[in-house]
Amino acid sequence: MGEIRFMKGNEALAEAAIRAGMQGYFGYPITPQSEIVEYLAMQEPNHDYVLVHAESEVASINMLYGGAGAGSRVMTTTSSPGFSLMQEGVSYIACAELPCVIANISRGGPGLGTIQASQGDYFQAVKGGGHGDYNLIVLAPNSVQEMVDHTIMAFELADKYNTPALILTDGAIGQMMEKVVLPEPIEYKPNKPWATTGKTKDRERNYITSLYIKSEDMEQKNFKLQAKYKEIKENEVRFESYKIDDAEIIIVSYGVSSRTSKKVVDLAREKGIKVGLLRPITLWPFPTEEIARLSKLDSTKFFLSVEMSVGQMVEDVKLNVEGRKPVYMYGRTGGIMMTPEEILEYAVKKYEEG
């Protein structure tokens, strides 16, 4: 049994990174994730990690590149506009196949937007975000406990596949306080023979690059990346199902919206309407097969994507339903938290329309 604490989501993420053996943190303040850099700055004297308060998110993502390339377990965190600034660097990191962890505690946009919670960065997170053909492993915690669990998982997955792992959650999960169970600290020993740690006599030089100037080389690199992504899709899909077996209405929802959606399931069932929830835990790889499976069941009447955006994840739901069943979307933006009642009202309306 680990240590039990009452923590903010952002602080829990930071504490989990320390316990995961993080060796370097590079960050820049932005609401609603600033508690992460503040917590790590406060804790720095008690631990061995390096912390640099970077001059911008552009700098912090490139520090992440340097630190990951030099073989260390490293992390940066930000919120939506900052994540936009990082995209060039993320693309480089993905191409150079450097393991590292990025967290986006997202807020409402577009533009400077609002500091309130949002899920409007889904496309940016799961479709690459920067230039070129790449994907990130994207984890979507929906509780303070999962901020801890997913942070540790993100470091492990990043190292397993030599790829950046993104924690995509929202300002609500980042700011809320809940009970958490913290694991024992991991004694992390890097085993990265490819890293730039100084060329010893017994090996050739190591170099980190994302440059493949010959067309044939670039295509081979893309084949290699795609083979890795295929392996990740086969092995790392994670989701949670709630009252899904006999459901006529399948809500698909992640992050803070999935908590509201769970309540919708219970309220609907009190009214005798069979609603179930599919919560993707990995947004990439997406639970494609599970959605396809559910769409083939006679009992399934329709899907309802619930997300704090104008409809982003709904496109991936539709892609996997492949027209077998109707797919609807309910969402609010601007940081407005949906109530279970308004979602239920929408679901019932669609249900009664048949």
């Binding site: 640099v52 001059e55 992440l64 030099a70 060039e88 740690t197 170099y207």
Partner: protein
């Protein structure tokens, strides 16, 4: 090798034996060689990690037999910061051109220097974007013709050329700043001495070193290598004077 002869000017051990992509007359090859000579002579190859930029020297890792990282355009200072912080016992150098270090990467350069990161910056200032075909750089001289200043750099539109060495020498975190060139054999020897001094300062962990190398670009300047040396002497050095700008204890 003929009997009784000794090679006194040779390829340093850590300069990889391959055909360089640099244009004839370009200083990159010279500076690469000098840097590798310094690492070999100081016996610090195993303790050195380099960062190369986007620009003509993007392939520096093909020539330098040390661990290296190729950074995004302008971000070498940030990449080098992380490497240096996580490997404080290593020598970290950042090899960058003027477009990279002084235009797109100005913020990273300034802040890394201001933090006093233990990095040796090797700043190749040839007043032009070589790799993209000769466009105006922040260090292009007043009146200098480039493909994006075809009527000559006009300070009204483009400002005056940035003096990065003077700028960074104002930061407490910066220990050593020297401007050198390789336009003569004597100046090339001074460049090597400056690189060696910077590496020794890095060992002492007393702040950032910044070596600006006034360089040429015969292809971009559309002249012969010999003419490029005259341009350096007559035009560049008067605006970017050579010498020590800042050093420890002074």
């Amino acid at each position: 090798m003929r009997e009784g002869y000794e090679v006194v000017y040779k390829r340093p051990k850590s300069l990889i034996e391959t055909r360089m992509h640099y244009c004839p007359g370009c200083f990159h090859g010279t500076v690469h060689k000098l840097l590798m000579e310094v690492l070999d002579e100081m016996e610090i190859v195993e303790k050195t990690i380099g960062v190369c930029p986007v620009g003509c020297s993007v392939f520096a890792y093909d020539y330098m037999n040390v661990d290296m990282q190729e950074a995004a355009h302008g971000r070498a200072a940030a990449v080098a910061t992380a490497i240096s912080r996580l490997h404080p016992d290593k020598y970290v150098f950042s090899y960058q051109g003027d477009g990279d270090l002084a235009a797109i990467g100005t913020a990273e350069t300034i802040h890394a220097c201001n933090r006093g990161e233990n990095i040796v910056f090797i700043f190749i200032n040839n007043g032009i974007y070589g790799m993209t075909g000769g466009q105006m750089a922040p260090t292009t001289l007043k009146g200098q013709i480039t493909t994006t200043s075809p009527h000559g750099r006009d300070p009204i539109n483009a400002g005056m050329p940035l003096k990065m060495s003077e700028i960074v020498s104002g930061f407490d975190g910066v220990a050593y700043v020297e401007r050198v060139s390789c336009n003569t054999a004597g100046n090339a020897r001074k460049t090597k001495k400056a690189l060696e001094k910077a590496m020794k300062i890095s060992e002492q962990k007393i702040g950032t070193s910044f070596i600006e190398v006034i360089s040429n670009c015969p292809s971009g300047w559309k002249c012969t290598p010999v003419q490029s040396l005259d341009w350096i002497k007559d035009e560049q050095i008067p605006y970017f004077p050579l010498g020590v700008i800042k050093e420890p204890g002074k």
